[in-house]
């Protein structure tokens, strides 16, 4: 039996890219995995988690991984609509997912939430300030929620990976990170046996971030 044998997982953005790599890694480790595509809409996020719990009787692991990098415009010309759209995709989506996941996890006293974020959670991104603001916001959200539910058997972590040419250029390894490398860490963060990692911004970035 794999590290996630018998676990029920839902993965937003699990049909492509890093979300898909994580979903496949979870299945290899023995989990039952339900995925959807990009899901910035609240109803889609909540629907996936409710459907997974209803169909399989539990929700042990939630991975929130929707959204490609969104550049937008420089802040001086960024519209309210773009600001809102980018925050919905990269921050509100995480809030909706965590809130709904906790509704399923708190009564059972167990759960693992893995937020797939990027190095812009700790780095600036000129020309994409809404995106960087959202990703920084994810870190604050994750760290605070981890403390809210830390004694209830629920771990909440973010995984920060490089995803753009600009961030890859900062890598100390001189190469891109692979989706498989991110997926291996996502398995560790979802493992029911690992209890001491929560509120962690786990880097998979080739040393891109300064802290």
């Amino acid at each position: 039996m794999g590290a996630l044998g018998g676990q029920i997982a839902a993965v937003t953005g699990g049909t492509h890219g890093v979300g898909r790599a994580i979903a496949e890694a979870y299945e290899r480790e023995g989990a039952t995995v339900v995925v959807n595509g990009d899901a910035p809409a609240k109803a889609a996020v909540e629907g996936l988690l409710d459907q997974t719990a209803n169909e399989h009787g539990a929700l042990d692991i939630v991975v929130l991984s929707a959204g490609e990098v969104t550049d937008g415009d420089p802040i001086a010309s960024l519209t309210d609509d773009d600001w809102q759209r980018i925050l919905d995709l990269h921050l509100n989506h995480i809030f909706w997912g965590i809130r709904r996941a906790l509704h399923h996890m708190i009564p059972r006293g167990r759960g693992r939430i893995v937020v797939v974020s990027t190095v812009e959670g700790k780095l600036p991104r000129p020309g994409a300030s809404a995106y960087a603001a959202a990703k920084h916001g994810v870190n604050g959200l994750v760290k605070s929620v981890a403390r809210e539910v830390g004694t209830q058997g629920i771990a909440v972590n973010a995984l920060l990976a490089g995803s753009t040419e600009e961030s890859h250029a900062l890598s100390k390894l001189g190469r891109r990170n692979t989706t498989n490398e991110v997926a291996k860490v996502a398995v560790l963060l979802a493992s029911p046996s690992v209890t001491s990692i929560t509120g962690c911004m786990f880097p998979v970035d080739g040393g891109t971030m300064p802290y």
Binding site: G150, I197, G199, D205
Partner: protein
């Protein structure tokens, strides 16, 4: 296939505590491991309890001395042909006091034990790793490598320095296939913690469990850190799948550190 099949690892202070948990996890994943400690008796006991046969060896060495660090690494190479993974786990402090009253000796002990040992072992290991273009250096730092703590300043300073060494070294060797990372565990209920903790608790007029409660209170989990979780992250970093992670200071502390 096991994740560390065929790899050779050196773990300083590997007889007991978190070092021992890492040694066991590495052996379970197929590595050959040289574990180090100061006491031949405790090392032999560890080997007996691990029951790993030829896959594990103990080398007695005091890593606060350069020549002993270098001898440890050289003996590992002599035994298994090379070093793929170095875990700088040894570290500690003694004679803690508020800075206003702290002795020179207190700072020197912490720097020798945490920082110089890490530097000496890493330098020697890198000279074996660089020509082969593959390596993993895993420094067991601490929550105190990220946070201050009163009456612990020598250890805090030494662990912050380990983190700085980690990040700089990672930049130097990243493109030759070597990763350098630090793990920052919270307080762990290990043998050494029981020895040191009981003394501190006695001095404060509290029980050992009340002493641990001070650490628990800072964590999101309200628990101390499980050594097996630190070992699980060490396995990930040491494995092929860990090749994309370098220069990182990874907290395994039940959600204690602020970053």
């Amino acid at each position: 296939m096991r994740q560390l099949e065929g790899r050779v690892a050196v773990v300083t202070a590997g007889s007991r505590g978190v070092g021992r948990a890492i040694v066991k996890a590495f052996l379970d994943e197929g590595a050959s491991v040289v574990l180090n400690g100061r006491s031949e008796a405790k090392g032999q006991q560890a080997l007996d309890e691990l029951g790993a046969g030829a896959a594990a060896r103990f080398v007695a060495a005091d890593v606060t001395r350069r020549e002993e660090c270098e001898r440890l690494l050289d003996q590992a190479i002599a035994a298994y042909g090379r070093i793929d993974i170095l875990v700088n786990n040894a570290g500690g402090a003694a004679d803690n006091a508020p800075v206003a009253e702290m002795s020179d000796h207190c700072l020197r002990v912490a720097l020798d034990w945490c920082l110089w040992s890490t530097f000496w072992c890493t330098r020697r290991a890198l000279n074996d790793m660089i020509p082969r273009g593959w390596g993993r250096v895993i420094n067991i730092s601490s929550l105190e490598g990220k946070c201050g703590k009163p009456i612990t300043s020598s250890y805090v300073a030494a662990k912050h320095a380990v983190n700085g060494l980690t990040k700089s070294c990672a930049e130097e060797v990243g493109e030759v296939g070597i990763t350098v990372n630090a793990l920052c565990p919270g307080a762990m209920d290990t043998d050494i913690m029981r020895e040191v903790g009981v003394q501190i608790a006695d001095a404060r007029g509290i029980s050992y469990d009340q002493f641990l409660d001070v650490f628990r209170a800072e964590a999101a989990t309200q628990e101390v850190t499980d050594t097996a979780d630190v070992a699980a992250v060490a396995v990930l970093l040491a494995s092929d799948a860990g090749s994309g992670i370098t220069g990182s200071l990874i907290s395994v502390d039940g959600g204690t550190a602020p970053y």
